[in-house]
């Protein structure tokens, strides 16, 4: 039985549908991310699961039991708030004990459970501190410990890393993932940060305007986006409008690009990820069977691990290409080069409904 069943849920604020007929399930021990820009309905979805909002339609079940009309304290759900929401007038220990006391855990278990959960988040020895004496990263660990100590059926993380600075964010991301795995807890992570979702979740649900756009693993969503929104939200692409004709795509500005075997024909969009475009100096060849487009390098950004090129094609169109800095590519600003694009790297999307 799935831990969470979110079935055909609607939620309106005023006249606006914040959550529009959304359904998904989360299995035992899975880490699922709700990913989308602000206002996409992901936070409302989280608040519906927590019980801070009530759905206008549909059902929410936790371990088979409908909780749609239940108060937050009647559901066994843990939540780590974006601002951590540690009680400022209580020590770390008292913050962690709060949930155990309210959930009726026997007092005799407090010490052992607290020690266990603090060890899990690597915060031993800080029990007596007050929240304001802790760094942002430490506060987050305490918030996580406080949520985990009551052993909820489901853990919700609201933008877990957004309040931390960029360097800390990356190291904590890996650590957070390890903590969640070792706790073995079913988790839903709400985030607008694609790399956060892709690194931590084993299943991603992309949302926009209250609807689910696509669901799948990070790889599925990145390499086969269901639509233009998903493709643009997760990564970048060079887009061409044109016509799909069998295994070739004719762009409106006159390029013909082999895209491999595709079903269907007619008006469509062609997307090419910048890092899938190879930049070759004239006279060199790389891939067999790739599309070859001539052009001139207009702008180059040297960013260290990668080099970004903006290449003006003969049609006048500019294409963005990202090259790994392997020390071998000597393409320079103003140089005539050619681009190689393999047919299997082309994303072809029908026009959006």
């Amino acid at each position: 039985m799935p831990v969470l069943e979110f079935s055909n849920v609607n939620k309106r604020f005023g006249g606006e549908l914040a959550v529009d007929n959304v359904s998904f399930q989360v299995g035992e021990g899975r880490i699922v991310s709700l990913l989308g820009p602000s206002g996409c309905g992901k936070t409302t979805t989280l608040r519906l699961i927590a019980g801070f909002e009530q759905p206008d339609g549909g059902d929410i079940r936790i371990r088979g039991e409908s909780v749609a009309r239940k108060r937050p304290y009647e559901r066994n759900v843990g939540l780590v708030f974006q601002d951590y929401a540690l009680f400022p007038h209580m020590t770390v220990e008292a913050n962690i004990a709060f949930g155990m006391r309210e959930r009726g855990v026997p007092q005799s278990e407090f010490a052992e459970r607290t020690a266990k959960v603090l060890e899990l988040v690597k915060m031993q020895g800080l029990q007596r501190r007050n929240p304001h004496q802790l760094s942002g990263g430490q506060q987050q660990r305490v918030a996580l410990a406080r949520a985990l100590v009551t052993e909820p059926s489901l853990l919700l993380l609201d933008e877990p890393l957004s309040n931390l600075d960029a360097k800390l964010r990356e190291s904590l991301r890996i650590e957070l993932k390890q903590i969640l795995r070792s706790a073995g807890i079913t988790t839903i992570i709400v985030t607008h940060d694609q790399s956060e979702a892709m690194s931590m979740a084993d299943h991603i649900i992309v949302m926009s305007k209250g609807r689910v756009m696509q669901r799948g693993s990070a790889e599925e969503i990145y390499s086969t986006p269901a639509n233009r929104f998903v493709a643009d939200f997760i990564g970048q692409s060079n887009w061409f409008n044109g016509q799909l004709q069998g295994n070739r795509f004719v762009t409106d500005d006159g390029l013909t690009i082999a895209v491999g075997d595709r079903a269907g024909a007619g008006a469509a969009e062609l997307g090419i990820r910048p890092e899938r475009i190879a930049v070759r100096t004239n006279g060199t060849r790389g891939w067999d069977g790739a599309n070859v487009l001539g052009g001139k390098i207009e702008t180059t950004e040297y960013l260290g691990p990668t080099i970004h090129h903006w290449v003006r094609l003969q049609s006048g169109r500019t294409v963005h290409a990202i090259v790994q800095n392997d020390g071998q590519c000597f393409a320079r600003h103003g140089q005539d080069i050619h681009l190689e694009i393999r047919p299997e790297d082309c994303l072809v999307l029908g026009p959006e409904p």
Partner: protein, 273 residues
């Protein structure tokens, strides 16, 4: 030249401040000194000698003592009630958004603007028409009305600083709404609540205008007793009574400073961070 005008302005501001402070303090000091006057009659300042005769006289006068007793009892009773009512009202105004909320809020705070004489007179009419004649009950209700706005204001100001997520965190950790309020919101708002209570106590001790209308021969407050005596028997017991009230106020201000920090309450209106 620019510097000169600046310094001149600085001097003027400093001068005005000093005059203001002197103007506030000198009369109080004079009253305090006069209360120790050794003369039997009301004479010119300064007194030729000092004694505690007016205090002895004050404490042996049944009329004043009764006033002092009623004032203290009334201040404590009305402060307790107005703290409860004010905190409940502030929580409601802070938590819920409902039609008429602004009106209700203005209504709660209106006793700050309406002259107390008007409040006193209206209450007298109202209480008489409903047959409420007990002086103490009338005084408690009257003081409740004038002190509740202070409790609401200071409590509301401290509630504004409490993040909504604290309450939600308590709920998701298994606390009911009332438990969450008791364990999280009330402790976090306690400076505002305490400040409101101290203000309420101070205003209740000090009030004349509302009390004047609501007293009966058995229940009158110390300030009302002083006002009456001023007309019938003007002597320096009034000065000693003033000093006693002053001491009580100073103790309250000291308490307020200890609990909340005076700057927090008066300066910034108890807004957190």
């Amino acid at each position: 030249m620019k510097r000169f005008t600046d310094s001149l302005l600085g001097l003027v501001v400093l001068g005005v401040s000093i005059i203001t402070v002197l103007f506030l303090v000198i009369p109080l000091l004079m009253a305090a000194v006069m209360s120790f006057d050794s003369r039997e009659y009301l004479g010119q300042f300064p007194p030729p000698g000092l004694s505690t005769r007016w205090y002895t006289s004050f404490f042996s006068d049944a009329y004043y003592l009764k006033g002092l007793k009623v004032s203290l009892l009334l201040a404590l009773t009305s402060t307790c009630l107005s703290t409860m009512v004010g905190v409940a009202a502030a929580f409601t105004l802070d938590r819920y958004r409902f039609p008429g909320r602004e009106v209700l809020s203005a209504f709660f705070l209106s006793p700050l603007i309406v002259p107390h004489v008007i409040i006193g007179f209206s209450l007298l009419l109202f209480f008489s028409s409903i047959g409420l004649l007990d002086g103490f009950v009338r005084l408690v209700l009257g003081h409740l009305i004038i002190t509740v706005p202070y409790v609401i204001r200071t409590t509301l100001a401290s509630l504004v600083g409490i993040r909504k997520s604290f309450m939600e965190a308590a709920l998701i950790l298994g606390a009911t709404e009332s438990r969450a309020m008791w364990k999280i919101t009330v402790p976090l708002a306690k400076t505002g609540i305490a400040a409101g209570a101290v203000f309420a106590l101070a205003y209740s001790l000090d009030d004349v205008s509302v009390s004047l209308f609501l007293t009966d021969p058995n229940f009158y407050t110390l300030p009302v007793a002083m006002t009456n005596m001023m007309r019938s028997q003007f002597d320096l017991r009034i000065a000693s009574a003033s000093v006693l009230l002053m001491i009580m106020t100073i103790v309250l201000i000291w308490l307020l400073d200890r609990i909340a920090g005076l700057d927090n309450v008066v300066g910034q209106g108890v807004y957190h961070k």
